[in-house]
Every structure is written in structure tokens, then in C-alpha cells.
């Protein structure tokens, strides 16, 4: 019995010291290939806070994870149309981002956005666009229209890769067909459903993580892509061109928020403040390859980034930011996608 007691007490002591150490930690849950290791190291060096990163492949996955309860994450990075959902579902907490010292660095255009009007919840990460990319050595088209993606020609049969979750695919389809975002009209959604089922005949894989691998191996000739991620694939050596179709592209803005019940809220705020420093944000943009919402970062960009076609869209490009869909519209989207996936 005495031994047991000793064991229990020791275990309890170990646990409490563990908790004491937890003040020096930060658990980040972010998109795949979106958190530069150099940035993590720099933050650790400056603050002594140890960061762990887990990754996800879609806003839907993030939402499901947070919805399932205690996750242990201190910082997550949803897109703009999911921020209101997370707020309404009580999944993220107010952290007074507008009171952080580096908040002054934010570009006026992005301050107090409609999805977080008081800037109580969210700090800026990256913003960019969703479109598609093609292999310029294999594919004969020029990515001039979304038609090439949604109604693929014969050469793309079995060589097209599409995102695994509906959110951005359906927004892009809305743009192509000239339909409103978050449509609650069954007929319009049927039109999208028919098109996606037809498109599926050419699809090699539904995937939101290894697009660059699919492209560099030649398994796919065209893929759904984000501009910065596409650039990452190109700079790694694959002949990938990011398309700017004439109908327009989907825009998104990812920001850092803190889940309800996070253990290290202060560390998360420190990290958000750290990222809002132009030097650090420039490091992030350099690696991730999208755009940022901080003043003075361009002074630190490399020539390569400044000249990348993925961050220099044509001046007449139409960018549409998707709003948060109503439950009814959302359930139509889920129905369409389930049908396509069957």
C-alpha cells in the first residue's frame, strides 16, 4: 500500500510540474505547409516559448475538430467565412487583438473586417486566392477560363485533381456559372451538382494537401490550387502555372484566432503580436507566398517573391470573397458534395 501511495504522489507531482511548464508552450493548428519553421524558431528564441504545430487541410476539418471539444490547441487559422461560424458556435474567444502593440502596423484596408468588426478575435495571417494550376509542359490550354477546370477537355481525362472539401470548389463553381454565393435555390445547386458529377469523370483524385506532388509526378496535369502553394510547387521545380481565369477567382483571408478553453492564451497573443511585426510577417509571406495585411513588409521581400506571377495577378482580375453561408445554403452545399462523392 505504501508503495502505491508513493507512486501516486510521484505521479501527481510529475503532473503538476508538467502543468507549470505549460506556461512556456503554444499549440498551433494550421493549414498544411503554412507555418514556416524559421519563424517558429525565431519566436522560440525571442520568447522561450516552445511551439508545436499540427496541420489540417480544410476549414471543415478545423471546424469539426473544434466542434468535437477539447483539442488542446491555442491558435488556429480559419478563413474569413468560417470566423463568424466559430464566433456564433462559441468556439473561439475574445482576445482584444486591437489592443496589441503591433496592431498599429495593420493596413487600414484590412482593419476591423466585416467578419470581426471590433477586431476582438482575429489577427492577420495571409490572404490569397483559389483558382487552378496547370502543368505548362503537358497541358495545351492557357488557363484563360474556369471552363477548362470545370468542363475539362479530353486530354485531362484522369489527370485532374480537385479539392477534397466543397467550400472553395463550390464558390469557384458559383463564379464560373455566374450564380450567387451561398445559393438557397435548389435549381441553381442542381446545375452545380450536374457539372461536378460530369467533371468527376476526369478527376484522378480529390485532394487538398499533395497537389504539388501530384503535379510534379505528372499524375495530375491540372489541379485546384491556392496561389502561394502553387508558387511553392513551382519554386520546387515543377512547371506549374497558376491560372487567372477571366470569370474571376475566389479570394480568402486567413486569420489567427484562439479557441475557447485554450491553455496558453497569453502566449497566443504574444505570437499574434509577433506576427504583426513587419519583419516577421515578411518572413511568413516570403515562405507562404501569399499576401499580407501589414504595412512595410514589402521592404523585406526578396526580388523572387516580388516578381512571382502568383502574387502579381493581372490588374483586371476579379476576386470574390465568399461570405458565411446560411444553414440552409450550407446544407445544400453538403448535399451536392455528398452526391458528387458517392
Amino acid at each position: 500500500m505504501k508503495h502505491l501511495l508513493t507512486a501516486v504522489t510521484t505521479a501527481a507531482m510529475l503532473l503538476t510540474t508538467g502543468l507549470a511548464n505549460a506556461s512556456g508552450e503554444l499549440f498551433i493548428y494550421n493549414w498544411t505547409e503554412y507555418t514556416p519553421p524559421a519563424l517558429i524558431d525565431k519566436f522560440a528564441k525571442e520568447t522561450g516559448i516552445k511551439i508545436s504545430v499540427d496541420t489540417y487541410d480544410s476549414n471543415e476539418t478545423l471546424l469539426a475538430k473544434l466542434q468535437s471539444g477539447a483539442t488542446g490547441y491555442d491558435l488556429v487559422v480559419p478563413s474569413q467565412n468560417f470566423v463568424p461560424i466559430l464566433i456564433n458556435e462559441g468556439l473561439i474567444q475574445k482576445i482584444a487583438v486591437h489592443k496589441l502593440p503591433n496592431f498599429k502596423n495593420m493596413k487600414e484596408k484590412w482593419k476591423y473586417p466585416e467578419w470581426d468588426p471590433q477586431q476582438e478575435y482575429s489577427g492577420p495571417w495571409q490572404w490569397g486566392t483559389t483558382s487552378f494550376s496547370y502543368n505548362s509542359e503537358l497541358y495545351s490550354g492557357k488557363g484563360a477560363s474556369l471552363k477548362e477546370f470545370f468542363e475539362p477537355s479530353g486530354e485531362l481525362h484522369g489527370r485532374l485533381s480537385v479539392f477534397q472539401t466543397p467550400d472553395e470548389v463550390i464558390s469557384l463553381a458559383n463564379i464560373y456559372l455566374g450564380l450567387p454565393f451561398c445559393s438557397e435555390d435548389a435549381k441553381q445547386m442542381k446545375q452545380i451538382q450536374d457539372m461536378l458529377i460530369k467533371q468527376k469523370e476526369s478527376v484522378v483524385a480529390y485532394n487538398s494537401e499533395t497537389m504539388s506532388d501530384l503535379m510534379s509526378s505528372g499524375e495530375a496535369m491540372m489541379t485546384n490550387h491556392w496561389n502561394g502553394f502553387s508558387r511553392l510547387g513551382r519554386t520546387n521545380g515543377a512547371p506549374i502555372v497558376y491560372a487567372y481565369p477571366k470569370e474571376g477567382v475566389v479570394g480568402w483571408y486567413d486569420s489567427m484566432v484562439v479557441p475557447t478553453g485554450a491553455n496558453n492564451v497569453e502566449n497566443a497573443r504574444k505570437f499574434i503580436n509577433f506576427i504583426m511585426d513587419p519583419v516577421n510577417m515578411a518572413m511568413l509571406t516570403e515562405e507562404a507566398g501569399y499576401g499580407d495585411a501589414i504595412k512595410g513588409t514589402d521592404a523585406y521581400y526578396s526580388e523572387d517573391l516580388k516578381n512571382s506571377p502568383e502574387v502579381n495577378p493581372p490588374s483586371d482580375l476579379k476576386v470574390f470573397f465568399a461570405p458565411t453561408c446560411s444553414p440552409k445554403a450550407q446544407s445544400l452545399i453538403d448535399k451536392v458534395w455528398t452526391k458528387v462523392m458517392q
Binding site: 456564433n88 483524385a205 450550407q330 446544407s331 453538403d334 458534395w337 452526391k339
Partner: protein, 301 residues
């Protein structure tokens, strides 16, 4: 004797077993009860459940509200379930075809070598299944280990397009669960009295007859156990269908995962899990009956 111990034997026995009841209760029964309850609730539009009773999840297995909200018969999910059964059955048969000879070969080795071979069989378990499945992308994929030499030798002209097909899923499943077939078959073959084989030969049984009428009947429990161990996880598999099938052809496992992650219909995901559970229970009852019969025959002879 310590005073806090129960006086009666039954009480002490119960106390001794309490930790295992506790573990089974917390880690097995509780999650299943939660799933069962969830399957009878309403989905919350943004994930989670609403505390309102509903049979909708079970109706959805066979019927659907189309985009105009009319209830129509929907074979979609039944097709997915059928496909899962087909692929799982295929993988189980393939595992049997490869696993039985391997187990038989190991049994024929001298005793000191056998343990080494069994050890080799278990080595893949040391690496994460996800990584092992990724390796198959390199093997089967365009410009991969199989294609490159064939292309170089001029045997094929274009890619074989082996990746992202049902075949790739079946290969992945067979590979993943092969050891689970070998081990139980080996366990039953190991106990086999090889003098019976000689006796059969003495009685003019051909080699084939020795195999089909002596060896296979005697190691049937191992074959059945192995088949169940392979078939059941195959039904629920979702790594191989996603990575090797490209997520195009949903199987039960990926369908469940899809309901929880993307489609945000937890009750339906839970109902599908319940269906999967029911199938597993039926298969196990079938197995228990067969085992009982086998024992009765063995006891009677």
C-alpha cells in the same frame, strides 16, 4: 488480511476484475453508447448535434430528400456499402492466398528459425500505417518503381494508371492487413500433427487431397480467425481508400470520416458506424457458431 477487502469470495473476485470492467466500460462501452445516442439525434448545421430525437440518420441510409426536398429512394449509400464489402472480401481472399502459403512455409521450418520469421512478419507494424501506405504511391504511381523500368525497357508506352483505382485500394488493404492473416493461420498450423499428413499419404491421398482434406480442415479455425481479423478492419479502412483511391470512390470508413469532417452530419456518421458495428457483430456470431460446431466435432471424434 487488510480490513478493507470484501469478506465474500464473490466480492473479492469482483474487486479483482474491477479494473478490467472499468477499462472496458470507459474505453469501449462509453464511446459506443455515445455514438448510438448521437445516431438518434438531429444534426447541428455547423457540426455537433442538437438534443432532439430523430430517426433521420437511419432513413438517410436508404432514402434522401432531393434538392427540392422530396423523399426518394437513394441507392448511393447502399452502393458504397456494397463496394466496401466487395473490396474487403477481395482483400481478404488475397490475404488468404498470400498468407496461407507463408504461414505453411514458416511451420515447416526448424523451430529456431520459425520465431525469427514470425518476428519478420511483425516488423511492418513498427512503422506507421500512413507512411507505409504512402510508400505505395511511390511504387504504383506515375514514374514509380514499377513503371519506370517497364517504360525504359519499352514494354509499356504510357503510364499504367495504377494509382487512384479500386485495384490500388485493394493492394493497399491486402498489404496493410496481411500479417493479421499469417499469424492466426500459423498459430493453428503450428499445432498440426504432421504424422497425420504421412498417414494420409500412406492411405493413397494425393498431395492435393492431403491439403484439402487434412491440413485445411484442421487449421480452419486459424483461417476463419485470420479472415475475420482482415475483413473487419478493411470494412472500416479509410487511409487506403483516401490515399490510394484518391478519395473518389468512397468506402464505408471514408464515408463515416466524411460525415464527421466535411458534411457535418454527425448523426448520420454515427448511424453508419452503428451499421458497421452491426455487421461486425453478425460476422462474429457466425464465427462463434462455426467454432462451436468445430469443437463439437472435435469432441465427438
Amino acid at each position: 488480511m487488510n480490513a478493507w477487502l470484501p469478506k465474500s469470495v464473490a466480492g473479492r473476485r469482483w474487486l479483482g476484475l474491477a479494473p478490467s470492467y472499468f477499462v472496458i466500460g470507459i474505453f469501449m462501452l462509453a464511446p459506443m453508447v455515445i455514438m448510438a445516442v448521437f445516431s438518434f439525434l438531429e444534426p447541428n448545421p455547423y457540426g455537433g448535434v442538437k438534443p432532439e430525437g430523430s430517426m433521420a440518420a437511419y432513413v438517410k441510409l436508404f432514402f434522401e430528400y432531393d434538392l427540392e426536398d422530396k423523399l426518394v429512394f437513394n441507392p448511393g449509400y447502399i452502393n458504397i456499402i456494397f463496394r466496401s464489402f466487395q473490396l474487403s472480401l477481395g482483400a481478404t481472399l488475397a490475404c488468404l492466398a498470400f498468407g496461407f502459403p507463408v504461414a505453411y512455409y514458416i511451420t515447416l521450418q526448424p523451430e529456431n528459425k520459425r520465431n525469427f520469421y514470425i518476428f519478420l512478419i511483425t516488423i511492418p507494424f513498427w512503422t506507421n500505417l500512413l507512411i507505409r501506405t504512402f510508400a505505395w504511391i511511390i511504387i504504383l504511381g506515375r514514374g514509380g518503381v514499377i513503371e519506370t523500368p517497364l517504360l525504359a525497357a519499352g514494354i509499356i508506352e504510357d503510364s499504367l494508371r495504377m494509382m487512384y483505382t479500386d485495384g490500388a485500394i485493394a493492394i493497399g488493404l491486402t498489404y496493410s492487413y496481411l500479417p493479421l492473416m499469417v499469424l492466426p493461420i500459423y498459430a493453428s498450423l503450428e499445432k498440426l500433427d504432421f504424422r497425420l499428413l504421412e498417414a494420409a499419404s500412406d492411405l493413397y491421398a494425393s498431395r492435393l487431397e492431403v491439403m484439402t482434406r487434412v491440413v485445411i480442415p484442421l487449421c480452419k479455425p486459424g483461417i476463419i480467425a485470420g479472415s475475420i481479423l482482415v475483413f473487419i478492419p478493411c470494412l472500416g479502412a479509410f487511409i487506403a481508400p483516401n490515399l490510394l483511391g484518391g478519395g473518389k470512390k468512397l468506402m464505408l470508413g471514408s464515408l463515416v470520416q466524411f460525415q464527421f469532417a466535411s458534411a457535418r452530419n454527425w448523426p448520420f456518421g454515427a448511424a453508419l458506424s452503428m451499421l458497421l458495428l452491426a455487421v461486425v457483430v453478425v460476422v462474429l456470431i457466425f464465427y462463434a457458431r462455426a467454432a462451436k460446431k468445430q469443437a463439437a466435432i472435435a469432441g465427438g471424434s
